[in-house]
């Protein structure tokens, strides 16, 4: 099953490679990994989308907790949560289908953030699934380039991940 694991770790050089090294050394799946500093600059927050049986996910969280630089680990799938991903997508937008593109972007609540003579760059956020649907709806012939951040997530309600 798919899981989103959020990690607070010391914002130190090398911490990222410890986490990614753990996943490759132990042959755990990794769908996406994002990381950035938090409001407390000494801490980074990492979000890893992975998949595996419940036994594997249990080992993943235990192994992550064992890394000396990891401060806290939560599996967001244990409770209601919100998941978002950002995509920048550059599409062909010639005179004749410029309007179509604009409409399509609106339907998915995208924003056109850059325009050239025959391209649009659209910014879109949502679940991974929503981004996939957008890509599918556009069709590969018009897509010039995509850049996706990978998912990040946060628990709903009172649950917080902090130290």
């Amino acid at each position: 099953m798919r899981h989103i694991i959020s990690i607070l770790l010391e914002n130190e050089a090398g911490a990222l490679s410890r986490v990614s090294g753990l996943f490759s050394a132990r042959a755990y799946n990794i769908e996406s990994l994002t990381v950035a500093p938090t409001e407390d600059p000494s801490l980074s927050r990492m979000t890893i989308v992975t998949s595996g049986s419940s036994d594997v996910i249990e080992q993943i969280t235990k192994q992550l907790n064992k890394l000396v630089e990891v401060v806290k680990v939560v599996d967001l799938f244990e409770a209601p949560h919100i998941e978002r991903e950002l995509m920048l997508i550059k599409v062909r937008a010639n005179a004749k289908d410029r309007d179509d593109m604009k409409r399509m972007s609106d339907i998915f609540r995208g924003r056109i953030v850059d325009v050239s003579e025959d391209t649009y760059t659209i910014e879109l956020t949502g679940t991974g699934q929503k981004l996939d649907s957008f890509i599918e709806a556009l069709g590969s012939s018009v897509i010039l380039e995509t850049a996706r951040t990978g998912a990040c997530g946060i628990s709903r309600g009172q649950r917080v991940l902090r130290i």
């Binding site: 770790l9 036994d55 080992q59 235990k62 000396v68 990891v70 401060v71």
Partner: protein, 568 residues
């Protein structure tokens, strides 16, 4: 007053009361060696290969419960050390490895003798550091010793660029340390401990399975007390030998791939299993699916949550430090009026006695060729079971584990997790340094011994009176055994050709060598060797070439699917 990084490092080692540093010099660590030269509190032991430095630090640690320290130069120095670091990591041995690095400004430029030490060792250390600023040095060393020795122990590497050893700053060594991201649990959860006590007192076919965690945490007294008060059978893993006295009537021998018939049968057929500081290794329980066929309740005590329910699902996990958890268990059992049902326990012991009658460790005692098992039995007698035994890897290692009855912890020193040939001799050096008055014996094979043979020179320099028992079968015996059992007797590349004359070899290093090829000469040779208290004696026992280690559970087989010695 400001000190250089090299001065600070030595001050840190002194503050940690480091007795010995096992090392080998080179360009990147010259300033550190300069400072070592100027003082005499921290003694340096010059090995002949960096692998030897790490194994020696490891053997020092295992035999003394202190943190072992190794010092190596950048590039090839650190790559040579990797085998020893990985060996310590797999067996959870507390070590600090200091490696030199090229100057900070040269890092990443493919400088002379540069290698990414932190990157290379990352998967085989508990943690590692690159010190980029001399101001961080003292705190990093403090952290390294703290991390190595607490929680689940392990090796920690500190990589120090050359310019950091000459840069200066004020020196202050922190007395204590806390790290928000690192808080090993000590006390077990009370509710879980109560559940465990209940299961123990209701058990009808109980089994206690104790591993290296008992040795690492010095919990042998508590384990011994628990087993005796409950009257339960107890087995040890290869790493746990000595954690419970082997001569105690509750001991059923080692379990696992080369464990005793009775230990493996009891492990499989028990109804309540207590795993203490043991990690259900594949060489211990065989095929986990086969192991899972018999329903049983499992209690697992371990300081590392990731050891629990990794290969086998357990019912009562207890995360904590073994001695603390066992103290709590013992207290609760003491306080309870309930005792395990005597009749059921007696019947269980009857069953175990029946299994014992298989006499699974028997061998041909009338043989005209020296049997390796015979040498080890004699070694046990002559040393009165009180020597520190290190070993290399192979058949000789298994026979030593089976035939030397360890009654005390930290007397059996071997590479279990990584199975590193070449470990025995340098580990014996470390053990002899830590225990100058003890009899230290290295049980080895002619193939393993050649992997760190150069350390015979170190032994001479430091006058280490190690006794070497070479069980010379002219084969990589363990490999040959697998080839005999599972590869149609095709002994592909497992014959040891062109062996040196070990007696002359020992003599050329300035030691004593003896060759023994008749069973009748085994005892006199051992006696003679142990009489020479101040000298290293290399005993080359020419043993039966085709002897096998029994019982054996084949790779991937169920624990009770044992190959036993054919009728003798």
């Amino acid at each position: 007053m400001e000190l250089t990084g090299a001065e600070i490092l030595i001050k840190c080692l002194q503050a940690e009361k480091v007795e010995y540093v096992f090392g080998y010099p080179g360009g990147a660590v010259l300033y550190i060696y300069d400072e070592l030269f100027k003082q005499n509190k921290v003694k340096h032991v010059l090995v002949r290969h960096e692998q030897g430095a790490t194994h020696a630090a490891d053997g020092y640690s295992r035999s003394s419960r202190k943190v072992g320290v190794a010092l190596v130069t950048s590039g090839p120095g650190v790559t040579n050390a990797v085998t020893g670091i990985a060996t310590a990591y797999m067996d959870s041995i507390p070590m600090v490895i200091i490696s030199g690095q090229v100057p900070t400004h040269a890092i990443g430029l493919d400088a002379f003798q540069e290698c990414d030490a932190v990157g290379i060792t990352r998967p085989c250390v508990k943690h590692n550091f690159l010190v980029k600023d001399v101001k961080d040095l003292a705190l990093t060393i403090k952290k390294a010793f703290y991390l190595a020795a607490t929680g689940r122990p392990g090796p920690v590497l500190v990589d120090i660029p050359k310019d950091v050893t000459t840069d200066k700053c004020k020196f202050e060594y922190p007395e204590t340390i806390t790290m928000r991201s690192y808080n090993p649990v000590v006390k077990g959860h009370t509710g879980q401990i109560k559940k465990a006590v209940q299961l123990l007192l209701e058990a009808k076919r109980p089994m206690i399975y104790a591993g290296g965690g008992v040795i690492l945490s010095d919990a042998a007294p508590q384990l011994t007390k628990l087993v005796r008060m409950l009257g339960f059978p107890c087995t040890n893993t290869l790493m746990g030998l000595g954690g419970f006295p082997a001569t105690d009537k509750h001991f059923v021998g080692m379990l696992g791939m080369h464990g005793t018939y009775e230990a493996n049968m009891a492990m499989q057929n028990c109804d309540v299993l207590v795993a203490i500081g043991a990690r259900f290794d594949d060489r211990v329980i065989g095929d986990p699916a086969h192991f899972g066929q018999v329903p049983r309740k499992i209690i697992h005590i371990d300081i590392d949550p990731s050891s629990i329910s990794k290969r086998v699902k357990v019912d009562v996990p207890i995360v904590g430090h073994v001695p603390d958890v066992l103290d709590d268990l013992i207290k609760l059992i003491d306080a309870s009026k309930q005792r395990p049902e005597a009749k059921a326990l007696a019947a269980w012991w009857e069953q175990i006695k029946l299994w014992k009658t298989k006499d699974c460790l028997r061998y041909d005692r009338k043989s005209k060729i020296i049997k390796p098992q015979f040498v080890l039995e004699k070694l046990y007698e002559i040393t009165k079971g009180d020597a520190i035994i290190t070993s290399d890897v192979g058949q000789h290692q298994m026979w030593a584990a089976q035939f030397y009855k360890f009654d005390k912890p930290r007397r059996w020193i071997n590479s279990g997790g990584l199975g590193t040939m070449g470990f025995g001799l340098p580990a014996a050096m470390g053990a002899q340094m830590a225990n100058p008055d003890a009899s230290v014996v290295c049980v080895t094979g002619e193939a393993s011994f050649q992997m760190c043979i150069q350390e015979l020179s170190t032994c001479k320099q430091y006058r280490l009176p190690i006794k070497i028992v070479n069980l010379n079968n002219r084969y990589m015996g363990m490999v040959r055994q697998w080839q005999q059992f599972f590869h149609g007797n095709r002994y592909s590349e497992s014959y040891m050709d062109a062996l040196p004359d070990f007696v002359k070899l020992a003599e050329s290093y300035g030691h004593i060598g003896i060759s023994i090829d008749k069973p009748a000469d085994v005892e006199p040779a051992l006696k003679e060797a142990f009489k020479r208290k101040d000298e290293l004696v290399f005993m080359d026992f020419i043993t039966d070439q085709k002897e096998n280690v029994y019982p054996m559970v084949g790779g991937g087989k169920g624990l009770t699917e044992m190959i036993l010695a054919e009728e003798l």
